[in-house]
C-alpha cells in the first residue's frame, strides 16, 4: 500500500535516470524532490527482449548518483516504455482478466511464455489494460538498481503509471501520447474510460509529430469517435518539441511536471 508515506521512485529510460520523492496521502500525492542524471547515448536501449543495458557500469553509476542525491535506498523502480506488451481487452464473463491477457498475448511474445509476468490495470467500462513483460528484462533492471545500492520494493511500468493517472483524473475526451525515450503509448480516453490503446516504438526522424498526430486521429476514429475535433495531448520525453511542431497547445500550468518524467510522474501526482 502506498498510503500515508513518502516513496522514492527510481525511473530508468534511454536518455536519463531520475529519482523522485513523492509524499502520498490518502487521496493526494505531492512531489518533494526530483533529480535526474543523463545517460550517454546507447548506454541503455529499452526493448522487450535481449539485454537492455549496453553499458551497465554507466547506468549503475548514474543510478548511484541520483540515489545519493535523494538519500534514500528503498525505491519503487519505474521501467521505461518499450519493454512490455500492452493490450486493452474486455475479458469474457467468468474469465480472470490476467489469464485472458496471458492467453491473448502469449503467442506473440518474443520470449518464452513461462518467463512472462502478466498483470492488469482497470481501464473503466469493464475493460482492463493488460501488460506482459519478460522476467529477464525486469531482473536486468532490478540488478542494476541493486548494484547501485537500491532496495527494490516494487517494479512499476512507466506507461501504466501515466495511464492510471489519466484514468483516475477522469480526463475529458482526448488522445494522449505518453512519450518514453524509445516508445510511445497512445491512449484515447472518453467518458473517464480508456476507449483505445496503442503502443509502439518511436521514430524520431523528421516529421515525428505529424505522424503521431495522424495515428492519434486514426486511433480515435477506430475507437468510435466520429468527429475530427479530438484533443491531442503530448506528455513525456520531448513532448514540448512535438507540441510545437504541430502547433498543439501546451498544457495549462497546473503544477504538474512537464519534463521527460511528466508521463509517469504526472500519473502519480494526478
Amino acid at each position: 500500500m502506498a498510503l500515508l508515506r513518502t516513496r522514492t521512485y527510481l525511473a530508468i529510460d534511454a536518455a536519463s535516470v531520475a529519482a523522485a520523492e513523492v509524499s502520498h496521502g490518502v487521496k493526494t500525492a505531492r512531489l518533494r524532490a526530483l533529480v535526474r542524471e543523463p545517460l550517454a547515448s546507447g548506454a541503455l536501449v529499452p526493448g522487450p527482449s535481449g539485454a537492455n543495458l549496453a553499458d551497465p557500469e554507466a547506468v549503475q553509476a548514474a543510478l548511484g548518483r541520483v540515489l545519493d542525491r535523494v538519500g534514500r535506498a528503498r525505491v519503487t523502480l519505474v521501467l521505461p516504455d518499450g519493454l512490455a506488451r500492452l493490450l486493452l481487452v474486455e475479458a469474457p464473463a467468468g474469465v480472470e482478466p490476467r489469464e485472458f491477457v496471458r492467453f491473448r498475448l502469449g503467442a506473440s511474445l518474443p520470449w518464452p511464455a513461462d518467463e512472462t509476468s502478466v498483470d492488469t490495470l482497470a481501464a473503466g467500462a469493464g475493460r482492463v489494460i493488460g501488460a506482459a513483460i519478460g522476467r529477464a528484462s525486469v531482473a536486468e533492471y532490478e540488478q542494476a538498481a541493486r548494484a547501485a545500492g537500491a532496495q527494490v520494493e516494487q517494479v512499476f511500468l512507466a506507461p501504466l503509471m501515466a495511464l492510471s493517472g489519466l484514468l483516475r483524473q477522469g480526463a475529458g475526451e482526448a488522445v494522449h501520447a505518453v512519450l518514453g525515450d524509445v516508445a510511445v503509448c497512445l491512449a484515447f480516453l472518453r467518458d473517464g474510460a480508456l476507449a483505445g490503446l496503442r503502443s509502439r516504438r518511436r521514430d524520431r526522424s523528421a516529421g515525428e509529430a505529424e505522424r503521431l498526430a495522424e495515428e492519434m486521429q486514426r486511433l480515435s476514429a477506430a475507437a468510435g469517435n466520429g468527429h475530427a475535433g479530438v484533443t491531442l495531448a503530448f506528455t513525456g520525453s520531448d513532448a514540448a518539441r512535438l507540441r510545437a511542431e504541430i502547433g498543439a497547445p501546451s498544457p495549462a500550468p497546473d503544477g504538474q511536471p512537464d519534463g521527460d518524467e511528466a508521463g509517469w510522474l504526472g500519473g502519480l501526482l494526478r
Binding site: M1, S117, D119, A131, E142, V152, V155
Partner: protein, 168 residues
C-alpha cells in the same frame, strides 16, 4: 494512488487491499479499546477489593464488639469493673435523684455482684420517700429498684436495693 501492477521478480506476499488495511486498523483500534477497558476494570477491581477488605475488617471488629456486649448482657451479674463505674459517678447518679427532703445516710456499692447498690435513706415524710422511689425507678442507669421495709410514722428510714449499670 490506485493499485499499480507490480512486476517485481522476487517472491512477494499478497498485496493488502484497502479494505483489508481498514479492517486491520479497526481491529487494532478495538484491541486498544479492549486493553484500555481491561486496565480500567482491573484498577476498579483493585479498588473494590481494598474497600471489601476494609469493610471485612470493620465487620470483624463490630462482631467482636457485639460478642463482648452480648456476653456482658448475658452475664448481668457479672462483676462490674471499677474502671467502668467509678464510685464518684455512681454517687453523683444517686445524689441527682434525691429529693430535697431526703438524705442519703449510707451507700454501699458491691462491684463483685455487678454493681449492686444498697442505699440507707432517710426521708422527712412519706411523700418524699415516694418521690425518691419514683426518681430512682426513672433514673436511666439505676435498675432493679427494691425498696426495703419502711415505717411511715414520721420520717421514713429504710434501705433501698438497686443495681447500677453504665448502659441505660
Amino acid at each position: 494512488m490506485s493499485r499499480q501492477p507490480d512486476f517485481r521478480s522476487g517472491p512477494r506476499g499478497p498485496q493488502p487491499r484497502l479494505w483489508q488495511v481498514g479492517w486491520l486498523g479497526l481491529g487494532a483500534l478495538v484491541l486498544a479499546l479492549a486493553g484500555y477497558q481491561a486496565l480500567a476494570a482491573r484498577a476498579e477491581a483493585g479498588a473494590a477489593e481494598a474497600r471489601l477488605a476494609g469493610v471485612t475488617r470493620e465487620v470483624a471488629a463490630l462482631a467482636s464488639r457485639r460478642a463482648a456486649l452480648a456476653a456482658r448482657a448475658r452475664a448481668g451479674s457479672d462483676p462490674l469493673a471499677a474502671l467502668d463505674a467509678p464510685p464518684a459517678r455512681i454517687v453523683a447518679d444517686v445524689a441527682s435523684v434525691l429529693p430535697p427532703d431526703a438524705r442519703l445516710d449510707r451507700l454501699a456499692i458491691d462491684y463483685g455482684r455487678g454493681g449492686a447498690l444498697e442505699l440507707l435513706v432517710v426521708a422527712r415524710d412519706a411523700a418524699s420517700w415516694d418521690l425518691l422511689l419514683e426518681r430512682l425507678e426513672r433514673s436511666p442507669r439505676i435498675h432493679d429498684v427494691e425498696p426495703g421495709p419502711e415505717a411511715r410514722a414520721a420520717e421514713v428510714r429504710s434501705v433501698v436495693r438497686a443495681r447500677w449499670s453504665a448502659a441505660p
